[in-house]
Amino acid sequence: MGLPTTTPGTDGNLVIEWARRADAGPFSSLGVVDRVAYPSLEPIAALSAAAAVTDNVRLVTMVVIGPLRSPALLAQQAATLDLLSEGRLTLGLSIGARHDDYDVCGIDPRRRGEILSDQLAEIRQIWEDGTAGPTPNQPGGPDVLVGGSGGPAMQRMARSSDGFVHGGGPPRAFAAAAERARSAWIEAGRPGSPQLWGQAYFALGDVERGAAYLRDYYAFTGGFAERIAAANLTTPNAVLDLVRGYRDAGCHHLVLLPTVSDLDQLERLSEVVGQ
């Protein structure tokens, strides 16, 4: 289950209550996304609040835009959240998709891939040697995921993380990306196989509000926003088909992100996936 941190109408109470109910429901993890130049909650701060009112769910960033943050601060924040949640954090990182997030943070986006590569090594080292922040609850620090489906991103994921987080799409797109992730993993000489995380948007029963949010959130992609809005899961059948499709494509964890800030959405999804 995703936390509604970027959808309009969210307030503090909603986030807390959402987290509490998700923890009691059929969900294994609680995910957040990251945007800066947009009316949205900071993902690690939001998950820290969630940590305080949950006991079971894994807390996952899908993703945090790494290069916008200093590695030391990010390592400290993540270690703090891992402590607060008693070892329930999985930290997904990527370079993000928008230049305005970089502009508003004053970071040059041209080197973002390189920055993220360095950051992945630095964060792991900080967690281990304690140069900044607390010692994380999970030995050696939380699992790290890397997003991005291009070759360089896949290579970065395979060399310096524990798994892959997909950006969304039909099961077939996920399956193709998962195959590339596995290939990158083999090329990097890593033992075992990468964790595979997927995500999709849903709006059960409030189709128009969900679509309006996605059109706005993805306005920067031009015509593509319409396609993302069209792919929003708006019926129980659509949700279940996608869940089955992702499972058969080898997805280990699937996070369904709400597009409407209404607790009713969580209840409806609980009913659908809890069956």
Binding site: Q155, S160, R180, E226
Partner: protein, 701 residues
């Protein structure tokens, strides 16, 4: 809705004919006069026609009436004709197709205006929707190029589009030698008396034969002479037929404002998979359907149209690219026997795999498989290609599937026993302690021979063979075990590193010492001794690791070798030390058993090793006694731009195999036996390293 369609080709007319169903008011403007057309025939697969029957039964019926159908493909090569059947095509003359569509449009009250070119700045004033079906040189798209962002990539071959009065009954490919090199023909019937006859050759052959200086008539007569055999007295027909260079068009989006692009205005795919008209008509049907589903929302309709069509077109473009690349380089396959040559041609684009060949043409498939089998193989029954044996020196590998151990210890090799692979390969095993990747990496020495021997015996008992990869990690040595990432330095516990040049592997990595002649002698000796240990352990094959950005691979890549002595510079220098080592291993290894080399042929980087250089290296390695090259990619740099699509190194393996004339093992996202069957039967690879994840699924729940 009021709809204006720019362009009266198949896409524009079919869209117009279909959209009247929605009660729209539609007009089509075509700049040429009625009856003028510059193509010959248009080919469809059976599947495409079936789809057409569903979309528009009336159009299907009239096209069906005038189409010719056949199911054979004939390949004329090296003086032989190979006949393959079961493929299912139909074709119609372009002129007939246009007439049919024009008639249907007229019956459905579409306004058709000929010799009427719309003004791109304001096409169809007052129209709610403008459909730009105005071809690859679309003026509307060009005017709004900032929105559509078209990208035209020219292909390297030249081609000319002729007709002929020769009536064919098969899709016919002809390969003929000319004074300047190979020329080929793609020909197919489009009615019972005429055929399309496309001649293609490389730029070099085109100039070499003087075709660049010939006029229309001279070219035609030249081609008639070259292809006199197949033409059998028939003439070629020209219709302003000029030599062209095909260009693949891609656009970032297919809509802008009230304009939608369809067909060639939006995308092109190389003619050798014959899909231009099919794709154009599918676009028209898709756009029409999307408009019907979103009657009041043009933006939603466009999104729906693109979501449906862009991925489908992209797959065709990818296949067309593979196909066109095949024809650019087809000369390298001429040494194959005609049956294997034909199988290779039929599977060129990646769209027809072995399983489809089995369905379509069992006889040809068995013939291609039979030539692979040794011992028992009949004319009717032959093992599928992946189960055919592969013999190298006196070692007979029982099948074409190789598997890599899941970890680096002898126990991991043993874990592969029983999987059924022909060849089980170890991870990199170091030839000396300093060459280890991590402190726990295995070293092949006097002490470890017994442990490896036990693992090899287990593999043998299960009916498989075992190979060991001998390696020295070079500048990637002395790192932590890779459980949480690769190339993380050991810090204080690290031992000194050596490499071709003093360049750290990562920005945070340690700088290795540049290896000197004495160091090289020591390492060469270590490899030779390891080969002798491998023999004692009972391995059937040794592989020398010239990949992965490790010590020897590091010599090959210009990104990691900046030496100025006789071991740096051009490929023959960069290969010198790795070749010395390969020769030493050959000398230390058993004469009756094969030696392989894992060779990185691309660094996924523009300044990295080129495939031409890798062919040179492969030739040198073959001459030094290498029996098999495992074609690998990447490893020289931590931040490169690899491409991990399906079978991503199979094309590289194919090229090394046929240009360096050495057996190869392909790897890289090979996940099914169907893929292996296709690669092996087409002679693109001899062995394949399978990523077996699909076969590891738990299926009993």
């Amino acid at each position: 809705m009021k709809i204006g369609v720019a362009g009266g080709g198949p896409a524009g007319l079919f869209f117009a004919a279909l959209s009247t169903d929605g009660g729209h008011q539609v007009s089509v403007s075509e700049r040429n006069p009625r009856g003028a057309t510059y193509g010959w025939g248009v080919v469809f697969s059976e599947g495409t026609l079936g789809e057409l029957a569903r979309i528009d039964p009336e159009v299907h019926r009239v096209i069906d009436d005038r189409a010719v159908r056949w199911s054979a493909i004939e390949v004329r090569v090296s003086g032989r004709v190979v006949h393959s059947t079961g493929h299912g095509f139909s074709a119609i003359s372009r002129r007939s197709l246009l007439e049919v569509l024009q008639e249907v449009c007229t019956r459905r009250s579409v306004e058709l205006r000929f010799e009427d070119e719309v003004e791109p700045t304001d096409p169809f004033p007052g129209a709610d929707l403008v459909v730009a079906a105005d071809g690859v040189r679309s003026r509307i798209r060009t005017l709004h190029r900032d929105a559509f962002r078209p990208e035209l990539r020219p292909h390297s071959t030249r081609y000319v589009w002729y007709g002929t009065t020769l009536p064919l009954d098969a899709f016919t490919f002809v390969f003929e030698d000319t004074p300047a090199g190979l020329m080929q023909v793609h020909a197919y019937p489009f009615d019972h008396a005429n055929s399309t006859f496309i001649v293609e050759c490389t730029e070099e052959v085109w100039r070499g034969n003087g075709l660049d200086r010939m006029d229309e008539e001279e070219s035609l007569s030249f081609c008639e002479k070259v292809f006199a055999d197949v033409l059998d007295g028939h003439r070629l027909l020209s219709n302003r037929s000029e030599w062209l260079q095909f260009a693949t068009l891609r656009c970032r989006t297919w809509h802008h404002g009230r304009v939608a692009l369809v067909g060639d205005a939006a995308h092109t795919a190389h003619f050798s998979i014959g899909s231009g008209t099919k794709l154009a008509m599918e676009d028209a049907a898709s756009l029409c359907r999307a408009l019907g589903e979103h009657p009041d929302d043009l933006a939603a309709a466009f999104a729906d149209y693109e979501a449906e069509r862009m991925p489908a077109v992209d797959r065709f473009q990818q296949a067309a690219l593979e196909s066109s690349r095949y024809f650019e380089e087809v000369a390298r396959y001429l040494h194959l026997d005609p049956v294997r040559f034909t199988y290779n041609l039929l599977t060129r684009s990646g769209r027809v795999a072995h399983s489809a060949m089995v369905q379509r043409d069992p006889a040809l498939t068995v013939a291609a498989s039979r030539s692979l089998a040794e011992g028992h193989a009949g004319t009717i029954v032959a093992a599928p290609p992946h189960l055919s044996p592969f013999t190298s020196r006196s070692v007979r590998i029982p099948n074409r599937v190789a598997l890599a151990a899941p970890g680096h210890a002898p126990a991991d090799l043993e874990a592969l026993a029983g999987a059924g692979a022909g060849l089980c390969l170890t991870h990199e095993v170091a030839v000396s302690a300093e060459g280890r990747i991590s402190p726990d990496s295995p070293v092949l020495d006097e002490v470890s021979v017994e442990a490896w021997r036990a693992a090899v015996d287990a593999v043998h008992r299960a009916g498989s063979l075992a190979g060991i990869v001998l390696s020295h990690a070079g500048r990637r040595a002395a790192t932590r075990p890779r459980a949480r990432g690769s190339d993380i330095s050991l810090g204080d516990e690290a031992w000194p590193l050596v490499a071709a040049s003093p360049l750290a592997f990562t920005r945070r990595g340690r700088v290795p010492a540049e290896i000197d002649e004495e160091g090289m002698t020591r390492i060469r000796q270590a490899f030779a001794e390891a080969a002798a240990h491998a023999a004692k352990s009972g391995f059937d094959l040794v592989s020398v690791d010239l990949g992965g950005g490790y010590l020897l691979g590091g010599f090959l890549s210009p990104l990691s070798n900046i030496r100025t002595d006789r071991y740096g510079g051009d490929m023959s220098n960069r290969l010198r030390f790795p070749l010395d080592v390969v020769e030493a291993v050959r000398a230390g290894w058993r004469d009756d058993r094969p030696m392989a080399v894992r060779l990185t042929v691309t660094d996924w980087h523009q300044s990295g090793i080129s495939l031409d250089e890798s062919v040179t290296a492969a030739v040198g390695l073959r001459q030094a006694g290498t029996d098999l090259i495992e074609v690998a990619g990447g490893g020289a740099l931590p931040d490169a731009a690899p491409d991990y699509r399906r079978l991503y190194l199979a094309g590289h393996a194919d090229r090394i195999k046929h240009e360096a004339r050495v057996p190869v093992m392909a790897r890289g996202a090979i996940t099914t036996f169907d893929q292996i069957d296709t690669l092996v039967a087409a002679d693109r690879a001899d062995l394949c390293l399978l990523d077996p994840w699909r076969y590891r699924r738990t299926f009993i729940l």
